[in-house]
Assembly symmetry: C2
Homo-oligomer: 428 residues x 2
């Protein structure tokens, strides 16, 4: 038996408490599998007095996470505070600079500062691990970085925000409008303090950017993710999609194209009988495609105390076992500057627009679409109690750029009220 | 750039050729991700002259795999010959004894000799890796051994033999009897030389025994797997199961119970709208359940050149990166002798029996079942052209032991022709 591996845990929210419980309840498992005792030396959080349902009396309390990160009796700094900057980043940098391993669940920090942190980690020969930052309990970072490392990865996609998936599936099952389910989710504590991180697709975009960097050997490029939130998806959109055999999911996709890397996170119509279409509630799914392996699908809980703590402890076990590799799977200095591709992959689109009740309005829309080469698969105008008529259009596959131009053309006709909603339909 | 990692490959069938192609076509990827060149020094196979569609002229040819395993210019011995004993085992032992890493796809060898090989590997500080032995391209050994290492695993289950799944789904989709689809599969080259390895559930049982050892920290115990093949599943069974909302899959399950470890591999009715129920053709699925993570589902191609080579190369990358851990995730000496539990988990059963055309026959069967405490959920007697009438019975949940006694009782009545078919219905 070698020396114990000593953790310092900063952040005692849901996940932090989950880690405390796993270290306490599974100490026999951890010892058997890593050959070492895994212990906790010190903890840190915003409030010392809050009742978290776990006994903290055996741990040193540090008010300052940076001081925690630098403690001599901490081998692994476990960063569970969140926030891309501020104390989380300062403490992570302090730990790495001191040559200590860091395990974090912080997708925002990695999506925005992943390159600099990876360089710092490698300079100091300090592991930096973040399985818990992507898709909760699903060991997808490990699958991509290690298990599938021999593959040329062609695409990584999936549903990576459980809250959005909860909202979309709940709207459908309860027949409730977006605003009502949003408030429900807020009351249940499912939403981030800034809800736009969830419903705006930002949180999921952070995760996608991390996976994309590993998959394609490029620097993390969150700004390169085309983001569209779920805020404008209506219960009617969901029902109409269902009528056509689709369900709407906040789908992330990163793919290598001849022009560069395409990254997007947006509400997308997926076939209802596909694995993605059947995903309910807070479950996440990550789909990895490689030249040799074909398609591998990973499914599991995307958040929550146990699943996220499981991912943290997986990283801790690797560190205890002395298994080390660069944070993004190859040396940070060798990660390429990402070339952003204009989205050129053609796909069908679902369009919803509000047509002014004027003679010839529908014809003007159809003509405008035709001028940009957008061909229409189906078009349907619905009953309308008000003055504007909802119109639903499904296009044949077209390039996103052509569609954007077409929608500008449509707007210029003056017969459409407000902004159209355009959702991609998944290319199989 | 450190020194190259030099492979010696024994066995140039489908998977061996896939490895040759990956090393050739993805050399840039391998170098970027491992920091080393991955090269092939020497190869070995039964026939030197066979045209495999790849150029072997750059590699030394060895007729004897043991000599290959011992070569000074081989760092990693890649064993793709198959067979639990004979040359595969001899060469693996030779490589490990010489302190060389071994990567193998050989589930039979590991299921029968895993403990001894792991001990030999650890004595010689030589990695022994076998991701390719279980579920083709799905990185499930890594997920269980590393990613979910912090969990107390409660159950591992799944569909792990693509050939059986192909036969069962093809019988259903084409409406063909077992014997016809079996011959089709043989003609397509899907079956092992000894087909009972596939259809008898032995191959899948080998895989389950390996996962079970890792999951529960026990010595591999293939003899403890309760095996039932798919040979007696008829097209009528498949249709009747479907009528009740189920599909029949060769399902493996290893679970920890208070009495010990239960391992089984047998045709099982699973809900048709569950992930397992929707698995088509050669696809495999592994479901891992842990105390913290809940349920993680992994899906991908279970066999074939690319997927299996992908798994081999994942292990090769780990070795190139210097990442090492004991073969079964903890030192072989600490693996417990497995305690086999009598299957006590109650579940409903599907029974099919052939009733002699005698007055009161059905009543005698029902009475015999009742005497053993088996209560009947549904019973149906079908039209019969011959003298014996097919009867289908679905039981309420009961212990397998009680059912076995009940079936003995039923046999003793003398009103049943042949052996009844009894299939478990999956406990959710």
């Amino acid at each position: 038996m070698t020396t114990p591996l000593r953790l310092g845990i900063a952040g005692l929210g849901t996940v932090g408490v989950g880690v405390l419980r796993m270290v306490r309840d599974n100490s026999d498992i951890l010892r058997a599998r890593t050959g070492r005792d895994v212990t906790i030396s010190a903890v840190s959080a915003r409030s010392r007095d809050k009742d978290r349902g776990v006994d903290l009396s055996g741990f040193v309390w540090e008010d300052d996470p940076v001081a925690l990160a630098r403690r001599d009796d901490v081998d692994v700094f476990v960063e569970l505070m969140g926030g891309s900057d501020g104390p989380a980043k300062a403490a992570t940098e302090a730990a790495l600079a001191a040559g200590k391993a860091v395990v974090t669940a912080n997708k925002a920090m990695l999506a925005l500062h992943g390159q600099a942190l990876a360089e710092l980690a490698e300079e100091n020969d300090a592991p930096l691990r973040f399985e818990a930052a992507v898709a909760g309990g699903i060991p997808c970072v490990k699958a991509l970085t290690e298990g599938l490392a021999g593959n040329r990865i062609t695409r990584v996609s999936g549903v990576m925000n459980g809250t959005c998936n909860y909202i979309l599936t709940r709207m459908e099952s309860a027949g409730l409008p977006y605003a009502d389910v949003f408030e429900e989710a807020r009351a249940l504590g499912y939403l981030e303090a800034d809800p736009s991180l969830d419903v705006g697709g930002i949180d999921a975009g952070h995760k996608l950017a991390i996976l994309s960097a590993i998959a394609f050997g490029t620097r993390v490029d969150f700004d390169g993710v085309q983001l569209q939130g779920i805020e404008r998806v209506t219960i009617d959109d969901i029902r109409r999609a269902r009528d056509m055999g689709y369900r709407i999911k906040l789908l992330g996709e990163a793919r290598r194209t001849p022009g560069g890397i395409e990254q997007s996170m947006r509400p997308t119509l997926v076939p209802e009988d596909s694995p993605l279409g059947q995903l309910e509630g807070g479950t996440n799914m990550v789909v990895i495609e490689g030249d040799a392996v074909g398609q591998v699908v990973l499914r599991g809980a995307g958040a929550g105390e146990g699943p996220t703590a499981s991912a943290v402890m997986g990283d801790v076990c690797d560190i205890a076992r002395g298994m080390a590799l660069p944070p993004f799977g190859q040396p940070a200095a060798t990660l390429q500057a990402p070339v952003r591709a204009n989205a050129t992959t053609e796909c069908a689109h679902y369009l919803r627009l509000s047509l002014r009740d004027e003679p010839g309005a529908l014809a003007q829309v159809a003509t405008a679409l035709g001028r940009s080469g957008i061909s229409i698969d189906r078009m349907r105008q619905y009953d309308h109690p008000g003055t504007d008529a909802p119109v639903l259009i499904v296009t044949h596959p077209c390039a996103p750029g052509d569609l954007a131009r077409a929608l500008d053309d449509v707007a210029a006709t003056g017969v459409v009220a407000g902004d159209p909603v355009a959702l991609q339909i998944q290319t199989p």
